[in-house]
Each structure stands twice: as structure tokens, then as C-alpha cells.
């Protein structure tokens, strides 16, 4: 398609402060989802989520000064950390052409870690208890702003909000923007920090969380997901731009397609037909009808999983299926960026990791228990949002 390649990965995730740590976690099926400790979860049906442990936090957002951290919400801090790592991984110089370098960010909930205590303070002590930093902290475009400000970037930038498909759109549309010459380099990905009492309330009332506190997509017993916090950023640039500066592309974004259906249909039978059409369109753009692996959207309910698997079977037939989401928790708007990072690592290592927590797969193609060693040249990634967004991307090895 686009000639857009990926030259860097940066992340700040539960259980992983860099790509190597993430790869070890996913290949070992080691999940960072655990009981929430930040607030009392007695009234919430799902007590488990993926969140950064002390050591991972120290290695990522803990490297920022308190003065930097107080100005932004947690999802911004995570995004800023991931963006810094992605730039380093891609070998982007700080002096990279600022007005030709931008940010494409996916997010679903915005950030509420600063706002929540301010609202409590407003009720208890009056308006002077409201943090002035709320003004630039809470909204979904805040990470885009903080990354561009923090790195002095003034290039073409956007934030995409499309429920749990947000980052898929950020990466896909970002790749198109690079291909169209709107920017030479984009930092593209997603960030989410839903493990706060207020945000977690909306995760809960969405009805998508597992009442058993488990996340085992593709399993016969799947009953929802556990959320996770974190950020993943990729560096996108044109192949010739990357090679001109001596960068080694990790993969090419060969195909991308997106469609919208009514939100009450997205995880059902008609959503399955739309997903098949979107996957077909992405494959067509990539000029292929085969892939070596599919990274699942993995909503983790019987109906949604079956809808997804049915679409894949109809388009691709038998093909290894995986997802890293149970390892980190479902990062909602940022979740597709986690799968993109892991897909890049699959291409690098020639290995397809198992779906953590999936013991009784409803489809024989779901990789379980142990990693599948196999040549991996092409990976399809699927993403769906409860708002009706359906996206598919195809990554191809260089």
C-alpha cells in the first residue's frame, strides 16, 4: 500500500518497560493482570486489572521529574514515556525536522487521575481545591499535545477516539498521512489509564468486564475482559526517508481498512460480515490473500469471539490466531497498539505467542500453552470498538 514502514517501538506496559520484556511475557504467557490495589474494589464486580508494577513504573514514567508528572495525567505520562522510547528505538535524533514530525494518538477515556481528587476537593473545600492542571490534563488529545510540546514537534498531528479500536485508526491513518506526504515521521500509537475509580466505573457499567476477574479470549469459558493501563508508540515513516537516515525498518504497514456499523451489531453476526469485508479490504491493499498469523481483537465474550472467529474463517480459512491482550489487560483505546508491537516482535522472532489464559480454545487455530515456532512474514491485526468501528491492518516483514 503505502510505502510506510515502522522503524521503532516504545512502550510502557504492565510487566514491560521495553519490547524485550514484553516479548518474554507474551511468549511465556505471563499475565500482569492482578488485583487492583489503588482503590477499594469491593463494589466492583471485576477486581483485577493490568497496571504497572513499581519496578516498571520506576523505569518508565518514574524517570520524569515530579514537576513534569504533576502537569499531566497518568495516560499522558505513559504516552510520553513510550514516545521517548520509540524515538530512541528508531534512532531519531532530537533535531529531527520538527515541522515534518507529528503524533497520531489513539485513546478512549481521557485521563481522570488529576480530575477525580479535584472534584472531591471541590465538594469538600471549594474551588481552590481544584487543580489548575486539569485544564490541560484530562482530554483525549492531551497526550498528543504533551508529546509534541515535550519534543518540540510541530508536524501534522491527530488524535483518534474510536473506543477499543482507537489506536488501530491512529496507526492506520497515521500510515496514510505519512504516505500522502503530510509528515515525514509520525509517532503513532495509543495510551490509556482506566484504573481509577471514576474511569473504572465506566469500564464496569459497559458490561464488558469479566465477572470472574479473568481474561481468556477464545476460551469456551470466556466471560469478558480485564482492562489494563499503558501506552505503545511506533515510529512511522516512508521507506525512503528511513533508509536515507540509515534506519532499519522493522516492517511495512501493507494494508489498512476501516468501516463503521451500528454499535449494537458490531460484536454480532452482521458485525462479523463487516469484519470479513474489512479484513478482505486490508488484505487486498496488501496484495495478498494469505497471512501467517492473525492478532485477534479478543473482546473475550462468547458472542464477540465467535463473531470474530467466523469472519476470519470465512476470509482466511485455517490460520494461527493469537493476542497479547490477556498479558497486559485490555488497554481499550490503546489495545490495538499492543497487538501491533507484539506483531512486530512475531515478525522479528518467527514465533507466534500463545493466548494467555486460554485453556479450552473454541477454535483449533488459537495458539495455546506454548509459542508456535514458524516463519512469520505477514500478520493481520483486527480491532473493534463498541462504538461500531471495525478496523483491520496488515503488517509485512521487510
Amino acid at each position: 500500500m503505502t510505502g510506510t514502514v515502522i522503524t521503532g517501538i516504545g512502550l510502557a506496559l504492565p510487566g514491560a518497560s521495553d519490547a524485550d520484556q514484553l516479548w518474554r511475557s507474551v511468549t511465556e504467557g505471563r499475565s500482569a493482570v492482578r488485583p487492583i490495589e489503588r482503590f477499594a474494589t469491593d463494589s466492583y464486580p471485576c477486581p483485577n486489572a493490568g497496571f504497572l508494577a513499581e519496578e516498571t513504573e520506576r523505569e518508565t514514567i518514574g524517570t520524569f521529574t515530579p514537576r513534569v508528572r504533576k502537569r499531566m495525567d497518568r495516560f499522558c505520562q505513559l504516552a510520553l514515556s513510550a514516545a521517548r522510547s520509540a524515538k530512541g528505538d528508531a534512532g531519531l535524533a532530537p533535531s529531527a525536522d520538527a515541522d515534518r514530525t507529528g503524533v497520531y494518538m489513539g485513546n478512549m477515556f481521557g485521563g481522570w487521575e488529576i480530575t477525580e481528587p479535584s472534584l472531591r476537593g471541590l465538594q469538600q473545600r471549594g474551588y481552590t481545591a481544584v487543580s489548575p492542571h486539569i485544564a490541560s490534563a484530562w482530554f483525549p488529545t492531551a497526550p498528543q499535545g504533551q508529546i509534541t510540546i515535550g519534543n518540540g514537534l510541530t508536524g501534522f498531528s491527530k488524535t483518534l477516539v474510536a473506543d477499543s479500536a482507537s489506536a488501530a485508526l491512529a496507526i492506520g491513518y497515521g500510515a496514510r498521512a505519512v504516505a500522502e506526504g503530510r509528515a515525514d515521521v509520525l509517532l503513532a500509537g495509543g495510551a490509556e489509564a482506566p484504573v481509577t475509580p471514576y474511569t473504572y466505573t465506566f469500564c464496569t457499567t459497559s458490561g464488558r468486564l469479566s465477572p470472574t476477574g479473568t481474561y481468556r479470549p477464545g476460551d469456551d469459558q470466556a466471560d469478558g475482559f480485564c482492562v489494563g493501563e499503558g501506552a505503545v508508540m511506533l515510529v512511522l515513516e516512508r521507506d525512503e526517508t528511513a533508509r536515507a537516515r540509515g534506519a532499519v525498518p522493522l516492517a511495512r504497514l501493507a494494508g489498512f481498512a476501516v468501516r463503521h456499523v451500528p454499535e449494537d451489531e458490531v460484536f454480532g453476526p452482521s458485525g462479523s460480515s463487516a469484519l470479513a469485508a474489512v479484513l478482505t479490504a486490508a488484505l487486498d491493499e496488501a496484495g495478498t490473500d494469505r497471512v501467517d498469523c492473525v492478532a485477534l481483537d479478543a473482546q473475550g465474550t462468547s458472542d464477540a469471539d465467535e463473531s470474530e472467529l467466523s469472519a476470519i474463517r470465512s476470509v482466511l480459512g485455517p490460520v494461527p490466531l493469537t493476542t497479547a491482550k490477556p498479558v497486559t489487560g485490555n488497554l481499550l483505546g490503546a489495545a490495538p497498539a499492543v497487538d501491533a508491537a507484539v506483531a512486530l516482535l512475531c515478525l522479528r522472532h518467527g514465533t507466534i505467542p500463545p493466548v494467555a489464559g486460554c485453556r479450552h480454545p473454541r477454535d483449533a487455530d488459537i495458539v495455546v500453552s506454548t509459542p508456535l515456532e514458524t516463519p512469520v512474514r505477514t500478520v493481520a491485526l483486527l480491532a473493534r470498538g463498541a462504538d461500531g468501528t471495525i478496523a483491520a491492518s496488515v503488517l509485512r516483514a521487510i
Binding site: 514537576r67 471549594g126 485544564a135
Partner: protein
Amino acid sequence: MATTKSTYDQVFDVLVEVGLEPSEITSGAVLRGDLGVDSAELVEIVNQLAPGKADGKALKSVETVADLVAFLENLA
């Protein structure tokens, strides 16, 4: 006998408390340009020194540490 801190000393202490480098804080230092204090952080600082007095319009005239000291003294 207890001594009362000057307004400048009170401002200095709060600037240090919010994370500024003490050696960079001078009376003539420009809050935004020299110290990186944006409008939100200025409100945070004033709220600590004079709760409820962080009037956004009035604060627009505050550019240096000396301006901030004068702003606070005029409130008294």
C-alpha cells in the same frame, strides 16, 4: 523572637516546593521564559500563597518573580 518571612522568601519557598531549581530563582527571573512556569503552574503557586486569589486576568500582568511578589503584596 519569631521573624516573619518576607513575601519574596515565601515565594521562593513555594517555587522550590513545586520543583524549581533554587539557583535559578531570582527577583528578575521571567516565570515562563526562565523558569518554565506556565499559566496553570502559576495558578498553583498563587493558590498556595493566597488561596482563592488566583484571578486569571490579574495574573496576566505577572511576568517575573518580582511581579509575583508585588501581586501578592498588593493583595494584602
